[in-house]
């Protein structure tokens, strides 16, 4: 099967590249080993501090409205972190003093939302907090199931009854000016959190839960759908095995599902992520990139890989495939002209592209711009 570009990896970086190229009229395929880190997405585009109109426009076209408001956001364990660009249902505030009196609402039997930690964090910032638990009968089947009370399952039940939820919360509010709600709304329909906000008499903040992240899954599904509607070939649950090379160029890639049927293309993008998604592999002796066997930047001394302090920055997370300044991948010291690397397969952060969502999207744009440019020449 032939494409203009084959992308290895269907996370934020790979999907961004795929969508960008499809929108430019290119034919692409994404080989995606299962789902990805968007499922743990906090809702904030880490390391994007500027008002990046291109990103905002890019996501808006995929049906994902973003909002830009440099400030801080409330983390699930009660701390505040700087943030600037977010999904619509993630709140950013100018300062950590978000109100004066706060009502934190949780559901009976839901242990993945940390209301006491949130309360303590908010109280440190000078707010008064009250925690109340809702016991909605609709959630009872989940409560009776040992693993039932989890974000996604709850969202499936709560989304259709959000109006009832709002009524119940109204009854709980006394003199509070802020209500904090777990992020278990808006799995399918991104508008649900907005509707809840509008209907509540005071300002609502949706605070994160333990993964999977409801807004993250929604984002993944919208991006994936957008890619497929643009005519992209999304090979889900497959993974790239080997590359076919000729004269230092990649000709094709074989996958687990397609046996010897090679996916051929003019250019290839490696967006396979880091260790978690097996973009990088490690054993006691080495760290490798398994598909193309690219050069990886790491210490040969295993003891250098770790900092014994969990909280410290971990050296192994900074290891990744080597690239030239235009993100062409390098193998055996030689640049491969039609293979690019984007996202966290290059390491957790990049001096030019940042980290997290910023790294994924910026490096994807950087590479797709080049591919589009080259094809015009």
């Amino acid at each position: 099967m032939r494409f203009d570009t084959v992308i290895i990896g269907g996370g934020l970086a790979g999907l961004t590249a795929g969508i960008a190229l499809q929108r430019e009229g290119k034919s692409t395929a994404i080989i995606s080993t299962g789902q990805n880190a968007l499922h743990f997405f906090s809702g904030s585009f880490e390391s994007v501090v500027e008002k990046n109109e291109r990103m905002i426009d890019f996501f808006a076209k995929a049906g994902i409205p973003l909002h830009y408001a440099p400030g801080v956001r409330l983390m699930p364990l009660g701390s505040f972190r700087p943030s600037a660009l977010c999904l619509e249902d993630t709140d950013i505030f100018p300062t950590a003093k978000v109100g004066s009196k706060v009502l934190i609402v949780n559901f009976m039997g839901y242990h993945d939302f940390f209301s006491t930690f949130l309360a303590e964090g908010l109280e440190k910032e000078g707010m008064q907090c009250r925690i109340r638990l809702l016991d909605l009968p609709e959630l009872e089947p989940l409560q009776r199931s040992p693993g039932g009370m989890r974000s996604v399952q709850m969202a499936r039940i709560l989304d259709p009854i959000w109006e009832k939820f709002v009524q119940e919360v109204r009854l709980l509010i006394k003199d509070e000016d802020i209500v904090v709600i777990p992020q278990v709304f808006g799995l399918k329909d991104p508008s649900t959190p907005g509707l809840i906000r509008e209907d509540l008499p005071v300002r609502a903040i949706f605070a994160g839960t333990l993964p999977p992240s409801v807004p993250g899954i929604r984002t993944q599904q919208l991006l994936g759908r957008n890619y497929e509607r643009l005519g992209g070939t999304y090979l889900k649950g497959d993974h790239a095995l080997r590359a076919l090379t000729k004269d230092n160029r990649i000709i094709g890639v074989s996958t687990k599902n397609l046996d010897r049927h090679y996916l051929k293309a003019d250019t290839f993008i490696l967006a396979s992520g880091s260790y978690f998604s097996k973009g990088l592999r490690s054993n006691p002796f080495e760290i490798t990139e398994p598909v193309f066997d690219l050069d990886v930047n790491y210490s040969p001394e295993r003891s250098d890989w770790y900092n014994p302090k969990f909280a410290a920055d971990q050296p192994y997370m900074h290891y990744g495939v080597k690239t030239d300044e235009n993100l062409h991948a390098i193998k055996g010291g030689t640049v491969i002209q039609n293979l690019y690397a984007i996202g966290s397969v290059m390491g957790v952060s990049h001096p030019r592209f940042g980290f997290g969502a910023g790294l994924a999207i910026r490096s994807a744009f950087h590479v797709t711009d080049q591919i589009v440019q080259e094809s015009k020449v």
Binding site: P141, S145, V152, F276
Partner: protein, 403 residues
């Protein structure tokens, strides 16, 4: 091998990162709180089962083996295989009469064929459905697949000579559905392959692929069928033939469930077992052409069945359909229809099956196509029953569009 150069475990269960992604994609978990979910039933409890089989959980029976967890898993864990294998090894409760009947698709087909009109009339009757519901717990709201009066194999045998005349040949694993319920699909395949200059022949022996037996607790019988099928397939492959199927589930079973769940070695023939659309696509990529009717027009919504999604081959059917001039193509979102073979026929699963399928049905209604395309016969029954839209196999659409 150096120490710890790589690690291995049964169905890769140790590669599970406990990320919970699979639980977000399990259709059963969405509708049935009694099911503990793929992660817990699979990799989590495997460790307990290895400690003592006593920790086997009977709730594993709610898994319908759709394999969406495996497609979603970022770590390559064969979650569904782990669950089905645990059921095979640890669940010793004998299958119910109802499950035996539902699983015996070939036996039922053989019995019904000579009296097909009667069977079709009877199974369509409200009273029959009520009786089946009460006695066998086969849900009365379900419509039954109709049986055909003459089998596909009989038809192909009558056309053996003209098929043998083609220089190139392919073997066809028709499956129970084509043989007993819908021989027309088989005839459509013959038409398309002939147009490509390929003649069609039967395998020396063919038994039901056995998937329904595997999930209904009859893996020993399934293994017997598998041995027969693989032996026949091997003979065909030795003659240089590809073995084609028009059912995504049959292909998945022959290729992956045999070695993974039944321990039947198919290594030497696995890559020669293909979904017909893949075979056709690859032929056309190699230069073969099909001539389509210039006046053909169809608005098609294509649903990728779960097992085809697991195979990763939906792209072949999709691309073939898109190639037909005059086809307005919509790819439906990835969703399970809820039937999962025999799962949705069982009274206790009816509600769950319909709830699982609801998002798919809703989307079909909003797209409002002339026909839904789909490579799976049980999806076809479910979608037709639940939406009223006709469902056709991509092969039949190709045949219909041919000059």
């Amino acid at each position: 091998m150096k120490i710890q150069e790589y690690t291995q475990s049964k169905y890769n269960f140790e590669e599970c990162m406990k990320c919970t992604v699979c639980t977000a994609y399990c259709p059963v978990l969405q509708v049935n709180p009694l099911f503990p979910g793929p992660k817990q039933c699979g990799p989590d409890e495997e460790r307990l089962r290895l400690k003592d089989p006593y920790f086997f959980n009977t709730a594993l029976k709610y898994c319908m083996n759709c394999k969406r967890c495996e497609v979603a898993c970022p770590s390559g864990v064969n979650v569904a295989a782990l669950i089905q294998s645990a059921r095979i090894h640890y669940d010793h409760t004998p299958p119910k009469v109802r499950d035996r009947i539902l699983a015996s698709t070939d036996f039922m087909g053989k019995m019904a064929r000579p009296v097909a009109p009667v069977v079709n009339a009877v199974t369509g009757l409200g009273i029959t459905k009520t009786v089946l519901d009460a006695t066998l717990k086969i849900d009365h709201r379900r419509s039954f697949p109709r049986y055909s009066g003459s089998s596909f194999t009989a038809w192909l045998k009558r056309h053996r000579k003209e098929q043998a005349a083609f220089e190139e040949q392919a073997a066809y694993f028709h499956g129970c559905y084509v043989n007993y319920n819908h021989p027309q699909l088989g005839k459509d395949l013959v038409k398309v392959l002939n147009a490509l200059g390929v003649g069609v022949q039967l395998l020396e022996k063919e038994k039901c692929c056995g998937i329904a037996m595997i999930v209904n607790g009859m893996s020993a019988r399934a293994a017997r069928n598998a041995s027969v099928n693989i032996a026949s397939i091997r003979k065909a492959v030795d003659k240089g033939l590809k073995v084609l199927s028009t059912s995504s589930t049959c292909v998945l079973t022959l290729r992956d469930e045999y070695p993974e769940l039944l321990g039947i070695d198919n290594d030497s023939v696995r890559e020669d077992i293909l979904l017909a659309t893949r075979f056709i696509f690859e032929r056309m990529e190699a230069g073969a052409t099909l001539h389509f009717r210039p006046d053909y027009h169809r608005r098609i919504a294509y649903h990728v069945p779960c097992h085809l999604e697991k195979l990763g081959w939906g792209v072949f059917s999709e691309r073939l359909l898109r190639r037909i001039p005059g086809v307005e193509f919509t790819l439906l979102d990835s969703n399970c229809c809820g039937i999962a073979g025999t799962y949705g026929f069982k009274k206790e699963n009816y509600e769950a099956a319909q709830n699982i399928g609801a998002p798919l049905f809703d989307q079909i209604r909003s797209v409002d196509p002339e026909v839904v395309a789909c490579d799976c016969e049980t999806c076809k029954w479910q979608i037709e029953m639940s939406t009223g839209y006709p469902v056709m196999n991509p092969i039949s659409i190709l045949a219909e569009a041919l000059e």
